[in-house]
Symmetry: C2
Subunit: 433 residues, 2 copies
């Protein structure tokens, strides 16, 4: 059968992983695609940088136009980070009549509507399995495998960097900044880890999953998010004492009031699958009304796990499955509105972990408990330890609440933070059983 010719734009870490799979295992790919898939061009402006693989002579080029002009190239794998020139390049690739495979979740979260509408106009497709949770086939699971279900909830550990840092703190007792350094040393965190640890990366991925699972059309910036930079080692220890692990959870959950969306450090009960996700792994738990809970766990980043997802998408594109899914689902269209309304976060009930830094004197607990009570928030448990040995007059006070609306919690926290006996640095985290 005809050879399928493909090109790669972006020859960085993931790009060289993709090239390696295509060049080193052609028989494997051909068996799955029903015909040979031949990588014919790799485009990257930097022709000299050393990579951990060598391309055949003449394959690497800086000339994108020559690839766009090659009518025999049917699909392009685009692996450039950032929004520009990635967006413009993707439009040019689509306009040159080629299907696209991408791993760029920021681009989809930002310009998905424009890119998908343009692809549809042109009769082309965009595949993006690698954009969320790396090697875990969660895009296919939601958009092809759980299609008989109304999805009721999606909860994920979508940022491996954050999960690694929280795991280090929990397992080794390292501080937050020590754990960030260790993540950088191992290549799990960038020199500037902001987008990973502040919840941006997870919110962008959650926006994509919420669109697939619920038809929600949301700007990722509108997803309430808290990063792990607020989590202290003390919180991880108190959580463990209460029977929980702290995880950066991305949540999309359908309730009577609409869709609840947020990204935040969350206490997850020990022994449940999400709580036990360690290191740089990702995991997603999807609940469907027919299938019940389904749980997926795997490597969410890294060269070869991400390349695995990219090449699976490329095979899907070459055999024609992607075109069908893309045509049928009509994702991100300027014509369609959101299929579901997001709910008012203030009305969403939940259990909370609270930590206050208070003066070590009688009556403090009564004052705080009084404010919680007057906001109809009842207390499930309290941990109060002795002051530390250094003669510090501030002690931590940890309170686990029963379920209460987020709005009531916020009001109570503001009032508590105004108490003279309560110092700055209060912490509030959701609890999931």
């Amino acid at each position: 059968m005809d050879v399928a010719k493909v090109a790669l734009v972006g020859f960085g870490t993931i790009g060289s992983g993709v090239a390696r799979l295509l060049l080193e295992h052609p028989e494997r790919i051909a068996r799955q695609a029903g015909r040979p898939v031949r990588l014919v061009r790799v485009v990257d402006p930097d022709l000299r940088r050393a990579r951990n693989m060598t391309l055949p002579g003449g394959m690497l080029t800086g000339d994108l136009q020559s690839v766009l002009a090659d009518r025999e190239v049917a699909a392009v794998v685009q692996l450039i980070g950032g929004l520009e020139p990635e967006r413009s390049i993707m439009l040019r690739v689509l306009e040159s009549g080629k299907d696209v495979v991408t791993a760029n979740k920021a681009l989809l979260a930002e310009h998905g509507v424009e890119l998908f509408d343009r692809a549809r106009q042109l009769g082309r497709s965009i595949a993006f399995e690698a954009a969320v949770a790396g090697g875990i086939p969660i895009i296919a699971a939601i958009s092809e495998c759980l299609t008989a279900n109304q999805v009721e909830s999606v909860r994920g550990i979508l940022n491996g960097t954050s999960n690694f840092i929280l795991s280090e703190m929990g397992q080794r007792g390292s501080s937050y900044s020590e754990s960030v350094s260790e993540a950088q040393r191992r290549g799990y965190a960038e020199a500037d880890p902001t987008l990973d640890v502040d919840g941006t990366d997870a919110a962008q991925k959650l926006a994509i999953l919420a669109h697939l699972a619920f038809g929600a059309r949301i700007n990722w910036r509108d997803i309430p998010r808290t990063g792990i930079d607020v989590v202290e080692l003390a919180d991880i220890r108190y959580a463990a004492e209460l029977g929980y692990h702290v995880k950066l959870l991305a949540t999309a959950e359908l309730g009577g009031d609409g869709l609840e969306l947020h990204v935040s450090p969350t206490l997850v009960r020990q022994g449940t699958p999400l709580a036990e996700v360690r290191g740089a792994f990702n995991a997603v738990r999807v609940v469907g009304d027919a299938v019940g809970p389904v749980f997926f766990h795997g490597q969410g980043a890294g060269q070869m796990p991400t390349a695995s997802a990219v090449v699976a998408d490329l095979i899907d594109t070459v055999v024609g499955r992607t075109a069908i899914t893309f045509r049928t689902l009509r994702l991100w269209s300027a014509e369609g509105g959101s299929a579901v309304a997001t709910c008012d976060p203030a009305r969403v009930p939940g259990r909370y972990y609270l930590r206050f830094r208070v003066n070590d004197r009688p009556g403090v607990l009564a004052e705080i408990a009084g404010i919680l009570g007057s906001n109809q928030i009842s207390i499930a448990s309290v941990i109060q330890h002795e002051a530390s040995e250094e003669g510090d007059e501030l002690v931590p006070l940890v309170i686990m609440t029963h379920s209460a609306p987020e709005g009531a919690l916020r009001t109570a926290m503001q009032a508590i933070d105004r108490l003279p006996c309560v110092h700055t640095g209060s912490v509030r985290m959701r609890v999931r059983d």
Copy 2:
């Protein structure tokens, strides 16, 4: 767009779940399929049996031929158990020009080659996601999502009944027979649970997964299998003492000598995802050379989880994804041989848990250890408890070995069982860390 007309053959538990999804959620299905999917006929010889759903008048019929003759019916969901008449009906459905969706793993394990070859000759497809691990999309994962990988191992808890029974024994301390009764009471086990507890069901599913993942062509009867009926409560307790849970594990693992296949009660280290699978759930861990380990967990049986998989397959069939996958992968063909040889089980190295019933007298451990040593099997740990209070002279002796070839273990066990101080009822189980 055109309505896709479909029919259902077999109106039992799963069949009524499928009918419910199609009839109660037409808008959901139409959105995913890109056009309405209309259930037009349900065929079952028993027109009077009460079901937990009511079909529109005239939809239920005993007349299969009228459905086969209806040229507007494009796909048939076949949900009859057993091998005949299911096999003949499937051939007739294919020959009438319709695609098939099935959940019958026994039929595929037994007659897959004939049925798939006939479907290919006729230009039709057979979808079977529901045949293995119910609601977990493991068929799609292996045959569509992990296609860039050489799969290196597949380990699964594929029989929910066995897992429920082992969980009951472990968590409640119930005996094997009490746990079987509880599984029957809850509807997890049939009146005659033999095919679940003796490993047959898991071996049939493993044969299907091994074919998808490795191209292995194996008769499920040739897969070495031990059921959970050999597991005693004592073994579960000793395993827990050593840091393990006992699971009925179905394993297909590629090694230097070929593919290792077996179904057997196995000690799985506590805290690993497979070890923590509770109740009637299923789980599968797949390792690919690019993606690394990916873990899937969900409900492996039951009306709606299975119906979820069946209807997803039906949607895939209606939109055309199934036809592509079916055409490309060329599963189960009389023309192809096995893509991989199975290895000699005797040469496969592994760690083992051994339990002997021995006389409570000095020198017994030395005799047993001597035989193990002379077979080059070294001991990792030993548990020897006091004789029970009833004045029983037999005591259990539990030994955990380091890694040794299965053949050496078998030889040593035979020699040990011939010792006068060792009584009948020795137990041997694999250990997975």
